[in-house]
């Protein structure tokens, strides 16, 4: 285990910029603890990919569209891996939460925090919305400022204690309640032959066989159906707002592009290499196509939002593009599901 203490509670923490905050924090913490892992691998093994269109949850009055699993899911999945143990805590009292953070830093433990974005002064102004499921690592304190490795930023940043305390106790949907977590132990190596098929299997179940019509491939088709009707139901202006919201959820900072699809492709490629398996590699190419199609939709939507629509940019055309995405993703996860089953069978034969 590394002993990286440097004087007054500043830990030598390797900051690596990543595309998504939760997988980035997970990968950085695991790497610090001695288990070298890429962000894409952490995202994949944590079963980060998902789709859900949940109109009964509203963000600023607009329906929630999510391209990834619920916040906290990646960490929860990683914790299930044998050998990885994690300390996790939530608080009621701000002072106690900050005191515990200081105590952990004193012991030389980098601490992961869930925070709200709105209260973090180092965030770009245009991204300061009330979004409460951001993750970052605190690795030291100097005077009244915390040293923070925020994975979506190119370099470590600093944040005054007062603002960090506010961010940890942000109110609203997904309130962090001061949640902090740190790794207690990690295995020396991950058994990729086991964990990769398991994680892909769980992603397949989410995307293909959810009983709810708003989730997975069914959810994508549902969104397409609704989107088509938006101009008629909501009027042009509200429809455009809804449309812009979908694209923001798909592409804004923290997604890695194409609604997390590109990050999952990176995971599939890495998995294909590790397992020496051509099937996974081929699926990666197919999912790339799905990501590209999502971006096609995004470009069309952005043109409409900017009032620069070309003759082909219509709501039915966009719905059709989204249906293409659904079809491509259905195919990808069908093939992957087949592959996972084969893996299971061949493993059973070996143990027999």
């Amino acid at each position: 285990m590394p002993d990286n203490r440097q004087g007054s509670g500043v830990i030598d923490f390797p900051h690596r910029q990543s595309a998504h905050c939760e997988s980035g924090v997970a990968a950085n913490l695991l790497t610090w603890k001695g288990l070298e892992i890429t962000e894409a691998m952490a995202f994949g093994i944590g079963s980060g990919l998902f789709f859900g269109y949940l109109p009964f949850i509203r963000l600023n009055g607009l329906p929630l569209v999510t391209y990834r699993a619920a916040p906290g899911n990646i960490l929860k999945q990683l914790e299930k891996i044998s050998g990885i143990t994690m300390d996790q805590k939530k608080f009621r009292d701000t002072n106690q939460a900050m005191a515990e953070l200081d105590a952990a830093l004193e012991q030389g433990i980098p601490v992961g925090l869930q925070t709200g974005v709105f209260w973090l002064p180092y965030f770009p102004r245009a991204l300061r919305f009330h979004f409460n499921a951001h993750n970052l690592v605190v690795y030291g304190k100097e005077g009244d400022e915390y040293l923070i490795s925020d994975p979506v930023f190119p370099a470590p940043v600093r944040c005054p204690a007062k603002d960090l305390a506010r961010a940890r106790f942000a109110s609203g949907a997904l309130a962090p309640k001061g949640k902090m977590y740190s790794l207690r132990s990690v295995p020396e190596q991950l058994d990729y032959n086991r964990h990769i098929p398991e994680a892909i299997g769980s992603a397949c179940r989410m995307m293909r066989s959810s009983p709810f019509p708003l989730i997975g491939v069914k959810g994508i088709r549902f969104l397409a159906g609704r989107l088509e009707k938006w101009p008629g139901r909501l009027g042009r202006e509200r429809a455009d707002l809804h449309l812009g919201h979908v694209v923001r959820m798909q592409e804004e900072i923290g997604t890695g592009g194409g609604g997390f699809r590109y990050m999952y492709v990176a995971f599939l490629q890495e998995s294909g290499e590790r397992l020496q398996d051509p099937v996974v590699h081929d699926c990666a190419a197919l999912l790339t196509e799905a990501g590209d199609t999502w971006r096609q939709f995004g470009v069309m939507a952005a043109r409409i939002c900017k009032n620069r629509a070309q003759p082909d940019d219509t709501y039915p055309a966009m719905a059709e593009t989204i249906r293409n995405c659904a079809q491509l993703e259905e195919k990808v996860f069908q093939e992957l599901n087949h592959w996972v089953k084969q893996q299971g069978q061949s493993k059973a034969q070996v143990t027999r």
Binding site: A19, A126, P154, D240, G244, H245, E252, G256, Q269, G298
Partner: protein, 148 residues
């Protein structure tokens, strides 16, 4: 983050901070590549802010015409709603709803005013006199403007 006066979002949503995304390299493999991000997202982000600015204008008009208290303006400019405001100030939604009405707002005690002042990072004096200041994320960048 760069300090800009007046703050603009013309040069992308990240304020010049490079972010990373997954892109294909020459060998056809995905790699984390640093850059200003995918451009169309700037358009939809700006659209979201325009909507917020529109709401702020409406709120300003309502405050001026005396239909709501200036608390409504502070709530809107910080993208909050009644639920969020109630959560942050530890009060019931009904109470907050009442405080948005000028009649009740004028009769607020110093403790309640302080709660709101601390949250919006303005003085109770500003709140009482209905002075309109910048939102929290602009504090230090934009001086407060008097309404009159």
């Amino acid at each position: 983050m760069e300090q800009q006066t007046p703050p603009t979002r013309e040069n992308g949503i990240t304020d010049g901070v490079d972010i990373v995304g997954y892109l294909v390299n020459d060998e056809g493999n995905y790699e984390l590549i640093s850059g200003p991000g995918w451009q169309p997202v700037n358009i939809v982000n700006r659209q979201a802010w325009q909507e917020i600015e529109k709401q702020i204008e409406v709120s300003k008009d309502h405050v001026d015409s005396g239909r709501v208290s200036c608390l409504h303006y502070y709530m809107t400019i910080n993208q909050m709603n009644i639920g969020l405001l109630a959560g942050y100030t530890n009060q019931s939604r009904l109470r907050v709803r009442l405080h948005l009405i000028p009649f009740f707002f004028k009769r607020l005690g110093p403790n309640t005013l302080k709660k709101y002042g601390d949250l919006f990072q303005v003085s109770t004096d500003d709140l009482k006199n209905g002075r309109i200041k910048a939102p929290i994320y602009d504090a230090g960048q934009q001086a407060g403007q008097r309404r009159d």
